[in-house]
Symmetry: C2
Subunit: 598 residues, 2 copies
């Protein structure tokens, strides 16, 4: 079986580039060492290959269904795999030891999770959401809530979800209508329906912990009136086991193009199905304070956005590796100028256009993996920085990079999967090979946890302008530092640095030009184009970082890194030029449209 | 139900732009009039909406299967729809009256077919292949072959296929191993297997006419040893009805990501399944002369390539129309600067980024439709030109444009479907809506009838160099004529003309630069990038043509045309700049790769 990720590349990124081992000199990670990091990565790769990859196609072909009694039926392989995952303690990853965690660096636990995402994106969703959910409650919840919900999630006895969207409110959370009414005993009663809830129902665990956005009557308007509640499928019983059923009801499953092994649900809260005494609402427990729910939820959302970037990257990565393997094994045609039909055909990889498609994939997936791990290291910096200023800077930079870490892999690692199909030719279009499923699975990532359009508005409308542009300035200083190091380095690095500096300077300039007229509609008219331009430039920066880390090292692996960087700087970064031209012109094409023209 | 195509747009393209009615002044089309053209288009739209669209999702969800007896089972809706199509006489379209055809202009019959391709790409494949097959035999076959096979195909009693690929030979037809051995009676016996044969088996018709590439022992080597044979599923009987079963056996069905309603088959010729007396080979009838098979097959292939462009365009078009409808009906969020959550949400189409996605789709699908119809008019010119020189010029220009007419819609109308999903948000990713299927169906078009890479090699390696560049010069003169007319026109047209001239001049220059060193491997190292650059430029030309045709006309339809052209010239054509830069640098990145670096 082909490996689903490259351990060699992860070692390069984690140890040779990001020097993750240096984190062990900090108190938070002092119990760890390269050995414990390696052990987690080895274990993850092993379980992912042995227990996650084998049922990936099967769970695509046999998607979950609703039984007549309203419960979910799914192939048993999913539970078997997750039982092994849970038994290995892998849900405990980055959590504090004080609540049962392993206190691993996020950088390492994200890399470990990537094996599962590459092997089986759908099955990996269950622990992925659980970790993000537990992380939120452990940050904002009470001790009781941590004991009741976080500990069982870290143990893998409960899984978690995030319940934001409703049928009429997806991107626009201001319009949610789910209500929460406070009772005399301090609990809340939740009524409403939630749409698109991944992992919203199943029998993989004893219990499911829903984190639900709802409005308390009399609260603020729009997003300022949103509160956050823990709404478990089963209430906590007196003996530590699960108690009575809460009134959360599966009312439908969505049937998706891909990602089919993850149940995606329509849930009714408080419709009376599970409360024989009548529909008083599902019981919910407030997280933090009323009306501040969206800010808490963004803690989980931001984590999930980087996680979505990792899923997209991992799907791109496994498709890349499989198309490399195919291109080396499959023969077809002859070299140009060697057309003698009696000569044996050559491997696909001998053809220039196939090489282009492999280089493109390599540059996308390894560039995206670098960005994901870089962002993860910022999380570790937040959690363990030696000064408050360092921690605040890490938060600021992570804020700016999050929309890119979410959107860029979603767009370009999907394109990697598209190219992986193309390398396979007709075979790639069939379900006998794996790549068409990756392409279908990966298409989701441009949509959930904030669409591409939402990420563009977030980056240009919020992240680069907040604190008087402090985030953009910080990113600028980081990129400038890389360019400076590169200019002192080898030829490749120095050449790339000149190109990157030119493009990045234009990005910085155009950012202020866009906001100059003080007209948000005009500034944001092409925010998605801006997102794409910044994204490509940031990935070029990630490639320059990798070239520097590979300097004075010889061998195929390092030559491959240098060549993929050459590809990216030659074929990809120049695409940013016309995008910046468009932005600089403050073009009004998208504004000056009459809907009747369509 | 949403229309699957825009009749208003077809009327504009056919009558206001291409002036198809003027063809009726030519002898070949003298029996026709705008009325007969309209009647065919109306009839096609009606049957497509009533009988093709309704089972599109069903045939995706219920793909054909093999029965234990080796026959194909498929939903009955496909046959019902095709029976109505056949009864309406629509297979007769462009064929000569002398053999039972309607002698319609190809431009009109392609536009008519597009309704079926948009409504149900899979079901439309059966007549699509049949028409191309009948066209080949009517051109190169004997009178007997025309009587035996073409007439029943035009009547819809038989359907046809093209059998080129084998499991080991897809893009490289030189490596086919299917053999044809001549018998004393002049017939041939065919043995071998063919892969990826669309419509290769079914019970939709009395008989199936396979056009099979095979090698006659002792023939030339490589592609020069390929001959073409008619191999029917049932031999012609003495009474005009079908006779004995020929030894053509379905040995497997391919399971695809999309296009599922079209059976895609592995066929064995002459494996003895249907010849109790032993495996002497399937009976085949030579078309034309031995060893010239590939040149005949390219007659069908070129037609099929333009047809693939139309399928891709039609799938893009229907997705565009459905996402426009959705964007007008679905409300979400508020305008920028009008964030009062108490105000009612606005339609999606009010958001700039949604408009960008709709404009992009519009510019892709209407641009592609224009190119497809322009190429079809060149076919009519071939068939009816007033001078041999005009006919030869039409052939030459069509030769150059064919790889673009195939590849550009396959790439960009797939991107249109990608954007159609994005406009729908989470709903677009579900099978409850139609757009995800279009995206899956459309992904095939980058692969079959010559992959994107093959089209690039064809364009840069053959089409622009043949006859000392005569094809490119002819295209150049056509584009120059449009630019000249545009410069005499309105502001939009004149501005676009300046931009197009600049880009096109660079394309022409870079074409000769690439071939200057006389190193084919270097010239063709980025032939796919060349294909994309020329493609975008040709579509810009098509948009400039449309702007000229819309000049001095007012109303939403024409304003929409002008705005889509503005979008294409502002957002799309500039993408060609970096591509031409790359080509001009004669970059060696794809050549200087060591496979061990991946």
């Amino acid at each position: 079986m082909t490996d689903v990720l490259s351990r060699r590349d992860l070692d390069f990124l984690l140890y040779e580039w990001l020097d993750v081992v240096s984190l062990t000199s900090r108190e938070r990670f002092a119990e760890h060492s390269k050995n414990t990091f390696d052990a987690v990565l080895d274990l993850s790769a092993d379980i992912a290959h042995k227990h996650f990859a084998p049922h990936n196609k099967k769970s695509d072909a046999t998607e979950p269904t609703m039984r007549p009694d309203g419960s979910v039926e799914m192939i048993s392989d999913i539970k078997s795999a997750l039982d092994i995952y849970r038994a290995a303690g892998l849900l405990a990853g980055q959590f504090d030891e004080s609540i049962g965690g392993m206190q691993l660096p996020t950088t390492v636990s994200r890399a470990a999770m990537a094996w599962f995402q590459a092997a089986n994106a759908s099955t990996s969703s269950y622990p992925f959401l659980t970790i993000a959910n537990a992380n939120l409650i452990s940050t904002y919840g009470t001790e009781q809530q941590i004991d009741d919900y976080v500990r069982p999630m870290i143990e893998g006895r409960y899984f978690g979800t995030m319940c934001l969207s409703e049928t009429q409110a997806g991107s626009s959370l201001a319009d949610i209508t789910t209500r929460a009414v406070k009772q005399d005993d301090g609990q809340y009663r939740i009524t409403g329906t939630k749409m698109w809830i991944s992992a919203g129902d199943h029998e993989l665990t004893e219990n499911i912990v829903h984190l639900v956005l709802a409005k308390v009557p009399g609260g603020g308007s729009g997003v300022n009136g949103i509160s956050l509640f823990i709404v478990p499928k089963f209430l906590a019983g007196p003996d530590g086991n699960v108690g009575a059923r809460n009134d959360v009801t599966l009312t439908g499953l969505n049937h998706k193009m891909g990602f089919r092994g993850t149940t995606n649900t329509l849930l009714a809260f408080g419709d009376g199905t599970h409360t024989p005494e009548g529909s008083a609402g599902a019981i919910g427990f407030l997280v933090g304070e009323e009306n501040r729910g969206l800010s808490y939820m963004f803690h989980m959302m931001n984590e999930a956005r980087i996680g979505v970037g990792f899923v997209a990257t991992s799907l791109g990565y496994v498709g890349y590796l499989k198309s490399v393997e195919y291109a080396k094994a499959r023969t077809q045609g002859r070299r140009l100028g060697a057309k003698d039909p009696a000569s044996p055909p050559v491997a696909l990889i001998e053809h220039a256009d196939v090489r282009r498609m492999l280089l493109a994939q390599k540059s996308y997936v390894e560039g995206a993996m670098a960005l994901g791990l870089y962002c993860s290291l910022l999380v570790d910096e937040q959690d363990s920085a030696v000064s408050d200023e360092d921690a605040a800077n890490a938060t600021l930079l992570l804020d700016v990079l999050t929309p890119i870490a979410k959107s860029w892999p979603s767009q370009w690692c999907l394109e990697a999967n598209n190219l992986a199909i193309q390398v396979h030719g007709g075979y790639g279009y069939t379900r006998d090979y794996d790549v068409e499923q990756y392409y279908r699975d990966n298409r989701l990532n441009l949509i959930h946890e904030g669409t591409q359009g939402i990420q563009g508005l977030d980056l240009l409308g919020r992240k680069v302008t907040m604190q008087n542009g402090a985030g953009l300035k910080l990113l600028d200083s980081k990129i400038a530092a890389t360019i400076e190091r590169a200019q002192a380095g080898g030829t490749d690095a120095a050449l790339h640095a000149v190109q990157l500096e030119r493009v990045w300077t234009r990005i910085v300039d155009v950012t202020s030009q866009l906001w100059e007229p003080g007209d948000p509609a005009l500034a944001l008219a092409n925010s998605t184009v801006y997102l794409e331009a910044v994204g490509h430039t940031v990935i070029a920066w990630m490639w320059l970082e990798q070239v520097i880390a590979a300097e004075r090292k010889s061998g195929d692996f390092y030559d491959g890194k240098r060549h993929a960087a050459r590809y990216f700087f030659t074929y990809e970064l120049p695409k940013v030029g016309p995008q910046v031209d468009l932005l600089a012109s403050r073009d009004r094409t998208t504004l000056d449209v009459n809907p009747a023209w369509f």
